[in-house]
């Protein structure tokens, strides 16, 4: 290549480059012009919008409620919106559950706890185009105040809980706005598992729910579950108070592990360590020795068990009973089973709405029980299992699969989901269990089952200091560590028995749910410490 050619090529390049630069400049100029045009258009549109908005003061975002004023305004609850209120103009505070805009109309579904109602904003003499657009753009879950006229509807609105009315909105204000991106969608969170798979729609998995518990708890199902759980607690208390029991509070920070060394949480206690109570066992019994006769307590129980199952939590609420009896521990069993039956009846009679709500997402058979409660001896249970082909020893403890199978066999034979298994083998019970007077291989102890899963373990306790010492030695327990416990029986102790249930497990089994985390508001397990 000659020098001239190279030069020539260079010039051509330069020319080509300037052509490119020119084209680029042109494009940029065009872009800028378009942008300016657009901005100008928006500005005029906005002006127009402001000018034509006759409903400007009937909607908007309220300043944060900092208790600026005391408004004497009654807010009606969604669940109270019935045909009786037809034609009334009322104010409602609720969340935006869903919103759907269609031309000149916007349909909102407003939700409060378990109730939902349809609301309509339509362009007319009360609402402007801008107001309808404002409503359509509100984010889901935002809390709004709405002034509306309650209207009767001819066709039932199947998708809402309030099926016979709808709200015709006059004014709409936002009290608390929600961020647009929700960590989970509430419709997905209440969708039954099977339906999700069939229609290819999403359901929310448990970890996501638990990580965003605040939103998950807003679902109708969660609202129902925890309202029912509150009922269990209340019925437990009411029934026992009526039977003459006294409610006690026991310490949770204790100096020695009560059930057994392995499953206990240690906490630092000033210059030394202490433990979190695995059960109120020791203190219940001490109350009996202090002549309180019949006591119960409701409080947290801490078990440091590294069990990642559907029914174990590291912290749960224990409902515990202890009772002095006259001559036979069956007096106590009868008292406990009657309490359970009163709870089941109370739930069945007063919480049907909640039970039905939960069943919509988690279908299950209604809970069945007998009056008086079915009581089988351990030996009978073993015989039933053997008749079904299970091989097990006379003094062997029941494994979880065998417990479940026995539950099914009992259901099939007696038609009950709740029963007591009495006279467990002594070898598989704690050291403070009273042995059977007629057969040293067995004990005066019992378990109670709901839907084939254990909910209560109880027994007549050894109330004699000497026998207690023997039993403790037999189990290889360090007597020094339980000296205070044994001492409580030295100064006259009545014969007594008791047992404890887990609130979360009982709620789960009553409703036929399958994971105890569904019935624990902020569950704790080996892998979860928050929220």
């Amino acid at each position: 290549m000659t020098k001239e050619n190279v030069q020539g090529a260079g010039e051509e390049e330069q020319q080509a480059q300037s052509k490119k630069a020119l084209k680029k400049q042109q494009k940029e100029a065009e872009k800028a012009a378009k942008k300016a045009e657009k901005q100008a258009k928006l500005a005029t549109e906005q002006q127009e919008a402001d000018e034509d908005d006759f409903a400007k003061d009937r909607y908007g975002i309220c300043p944060m409620v900092q208790s600026q004023q005391k408004l004497d305004r009654a807010l009606v609850r969604v669940q109270d919106l019935t045909p009786e209120k037809a034609e009334q103009q009322i104010w409602v505070r609720a969340r935006i559950h869903t919103s759907r805009a269609k031309g000149k109309q916007c349909f909102l579904v407003l939700r409060h706890q378990q109730s939902t109602v349809q609301a309509l904003i339509a362009v007319g003499d009360r609402a402007s185009k801008q107001m309808v657009k404002f409503a359509a753009n509100l984010t889901k879950e935002s809390i709004i105040d709405v002034e509306a006229v309650v209207k009767k509807v001819e066709q039932k609105i199947e998708s809402c809980s309030q099926q016979d009315v709808e709200l015709h909105v006059e004014r709409i204000f936002v009290i608390s706005q929600s961020e647009a991106r929700l960590p989970l969608q509430l419709e997905d969170a209440v969708r039954p598992e099977g339906e999700g798979d069939e229609e290819g729609r999403a359901t929310v998995n448990q970890d996501t729910r638990l990580d965003n518990r605040v939103i998950d708890l807003r679902t109708t199902t969660s609202q129902a579950i925890f309202r029912l759980q509150s009922g269990v607690c209340q019925l437990f208390r009411d029934t026992l108070i009526n039977k003459g029991f006294v409610e006690i509070q026991t310490p949770k920070i204790i100096s020695a592990a009560s059930e057994g060394g392995a499953n206990v949480f240690t906490v630092s206690y000033f210059k030394t360590s202490a433990y979190l109570a695995q059960s109120p066992q020791l203190y219940k019994q001490m109350c009996i020795c202090a002549d309180f006769d019949k006591v119960f307590c409701v409080g947290p129980v801490f078990r440091a068990e590294d069990s990642n199952t559907h029914r174990h939590l590291t912290e749960f609420v224990g409902l515990d009973i202890e009772m002095a009896f006259n001559y036979h521990y069956h007096e106590v069993i009868d008292s406990i089973t009657d309490t359970m039956v009163q709870i089941f009846k109370g739930l069945r009679d007063r919480f049907q709405t909640e039970i039905q709500t939960v069943n919509k997402q988690y279908p299950s058979e209604p809970f069945k029980f007998l009056e008086p409660t079915l009581r089988l001896e351990y030996k009978e249970g073993v015989a039933m299992l053997r008749a079904a082909g299970v091989e097990m020893g006379d003094e062997e403890d029941l494994s979880t699969p065998n417990e479940k199978l026995l539950g099914r066999l009992v259901k099939e034979k007696y038609d009950t989901d709740f029963y007591v298994l009495d006279k467990y083998p002594l070898a598989v019970r704690p050291f403070y269990t009273m042995p059977d007077p007629n057969n040293p291989k067995y004990s005066n102890s019992y378990d109670m089952f709901m839907r084939g899963e254990e909910i209560l373990s109880g027994a007549q306790r050894v109330h004699d200091a000497q026998l207690l010492t023997e039993r403790a030695m037999h189990h290889g327990i360090d007597l020094e560590k339980i000296k205070a416990y044994i001492d409580s029986f030295r100064y006259g102790a009545p014969p007594h028995a008791g047992g404890g249930i887990g609130l979360e497990r009982v709620t789960m089994l009553y409703l036929g749910l399958h994971n105890v985390r569904q019935t624990s508001m902020f569950p704790r397990d080996p892998k979860r410490l928050t929220p």
């Binding site: 082909g389 199978l405 099914r408 259901k411 099939e412």
Partner: protein, 183 residues
């Protein structure tokens, strides 16, 4: 490996002696085994040796003059052969994963049949019962209810006079204990 093989030999030989007893054959035969898989062999005075469980079992049926146990029509005979094949090629020594498949297929097959060949009891039922026993005896109550037709057929065969012999009975409950929605 060796241990499993040994159990199989013992079982195969016990099966054959059970079969002899059922068929009412007075003189028990003496069997040997061959090969790595320890296949049973019957040395015959009249001709070549008979090799294999199915071959020997069929021979015993002819010896006992009970040809109906191999099927009454061409179609039935074919079905019986098919199940005898199934027993030694798919059922014997199947892996854990295959067990579920085998049970599911058998359950579907038996939905509208009393016996494997339809309405008649044949050698197919006997050898399939012997071959599947060790699986069914381990099933939980819920699984036995899941494979309802297999359990029904199995219970029927194990109660057939003269069949069970060397095998322990498997408990089958009269009523369903798990609601069908459980599955």
């Amino acid at each position: 490996m060796c241990r499993i093989g040994f159990r199989c030999i013992k079982m195969a030989l016990r099966e054959l002696s059970s079969l002899e007893r059922f068929l009412g054959l007075k003189k028990p035969n003496k069997y040997s085994t061959q090969g790595g898989k320890k296949v049973p062999v019957l040395q015959n005075n009249n001709g070549p040796a008979l090799i294999g469980l199915v071959t020997i079992a069929s021979h015993l049926v002819h010896e006992a003059k009970r040809p109906e146990l191999l099927g009454n029509s061409a179609e039935q005979r074919a079905i019986v052969q098919q199940w005898l094949e199934h027993r030694v090629t798919r059922l014997d020594n199947c892996s854990k994963e295959e067990v579920k498949v085998i049970l599911k297929e058998l359950n579907q097959y038996l939905e509208d049949k009393v016996y494997l060949a339809g309405n008649v009891f044949t050698l197919a039922d006997i050898l399939m019962y012997y071959g599947i026993h060790h699986i069914v005896v381990e099933l939980a109550v819920q699984e036995k209810e899941l494979y309802l037709n297999v359990t029904r057929w199995f219970d029927h065969i194990q109660h057939y006079p003269g069949i069970r012999n060397h095998l322990p009975p498997v408990v089958v409950l009269r009523n369903r204990v798990y609601p069908s929605s459980h599955h």
